[in-house]
Symmetry: C2
Subunit: 218 residues, 2 copies
């Protein structure tokens, strides 16, 4: 049967980047449908009635929601090429732990850094602490899972497109604070899947500058 794969998406979201990277790693062909989040489509509301959020992966008419769940689904549905999660249960649990850590700990300070009027020094400090914690988990490994590009890399790399935003509005230098992590982003950016999924940093920064103006933050 021909696969019917649709991704309901919004280009600047680091979460949709995850799903796109996973699909690209598996070489799955998909139809990409940009969503206007200020005017949600009937399809989005039908496919994610609970959270009404992107990304939504629609596979043969059935929706899968939440980006980390989508990556696992993609890995299980197209298991052949480029495994995204380790096969060992303990290593799988560790990968899930760090991806969950990113969602629980990084999102809020990363958002506060740009979405606050004036400078939110606590958010900047917390953001750097979380990135340093992740860097310490990375250690001297090539990717978070070792030699294999996978789940945690995919969960984190989308934030790289936003580093310019964090540096500009958080008044921090991620490059000087977390040089090993920057080395890791460069390795990730050698992968075609990542290059295809990540928008240019400058485009995200310009978008957030406009967004801040429309929110009356500057």
């Amino acid at each position: 049967m021909a696969e019917d794969v649709i991704l309901l998406d919004a280009w600047a979201s680091m979460f949709r980047m995850r799903t796109r990277i996973a699909l690209e790693e598996k070489k799955v062909k998909y139809d990409y449908r940009e969503q206007d989040l200020s005017n949600k489509s009937a399809l989005l509301l039908e496919m994610n009635p609970v959270h009404k959020k992107i990304p939504v992966l629609v596979h043969n008419g059935r929706p899968v929601c939440e980006s980390l769940i989508q990556i696992e689904y993609i890995d299980e549905t197209w298991p052949g090429e480029n495994p995204l999660l380790p096969s060992d249960p303990y290593e799988r649990a560790q990968a899930k732990f760090w991806a969950d850590f990113i969602d629980k700990k990084l999102n809020v300070p990363a958002w506060r850094v740009w979405a606050t009027k004036g400078e939110d020094q606590d958010a900047s400090k917390e953001l750097i602490e979380i990135l340093k914690r992740l860097e310490s988990e990375l250690g001297d490994k090539h990717y978070f899972g070792g030699e294999m590009f996978g789940f945690v890399d995919i969960a984190l790399i989308g934030f790289y497109s936003w580093f310019g935003v964090y540096e500009k509005y958080g008044n921090v230098s991620i490059e000087s604070e977390c040089s090993k992590l920057i080395g890791w982003t460069k390795r990730c950016l050698q992968r075609e899947s990542v290059v295809k999924a990540l928008p240019e940093s400058e485009k995200v920064t310009a978008f957030i500058s406009e967004r801040r103006k429309s929110l009356g933050l500057e």
Copy 2:
């Protein structure tokens, strides 16, 4: 090799109940170590240095943290008896979605209902809405996954021990608002794993009454 399984635990937490139910379903023998959360043990801090929270499952000396990740780990490590997640990738993704929904949507209102001075009517209303949403997902099924007791049931049933707390401090009747969900709790309570893991409702209510006093909430 003899299995060495330790559960770092605190009896009233609905999260540790999940891990315990999963271990009981798999008939895994484990050593249960109650933790004093006001004076965290060196073992807890060593085994969960990131979040410093229970439950922690320590298997042959290696820690697995976060209750939903622990259930998956238990299911993958002891796959023979009573599968906890469906084998079909789409059904697995759906089960993970609803367990994630419980963690993202139910925890906060459930906590606010008792941890607020006076009555938090918004929290009570939200709590009932979330429970009704879950009840609608349950529909006429025996368990959330159909005939098979599994991931979503385990993620939710621990809250049942707290229903008395929610009714007392939230001034709601879960029984009259969500009668189908109460029917489901009764089916779950026929399982030995659930009976073993859940403390008595009265004990949780007495504990929270003391906790509210110590926090100056009453």
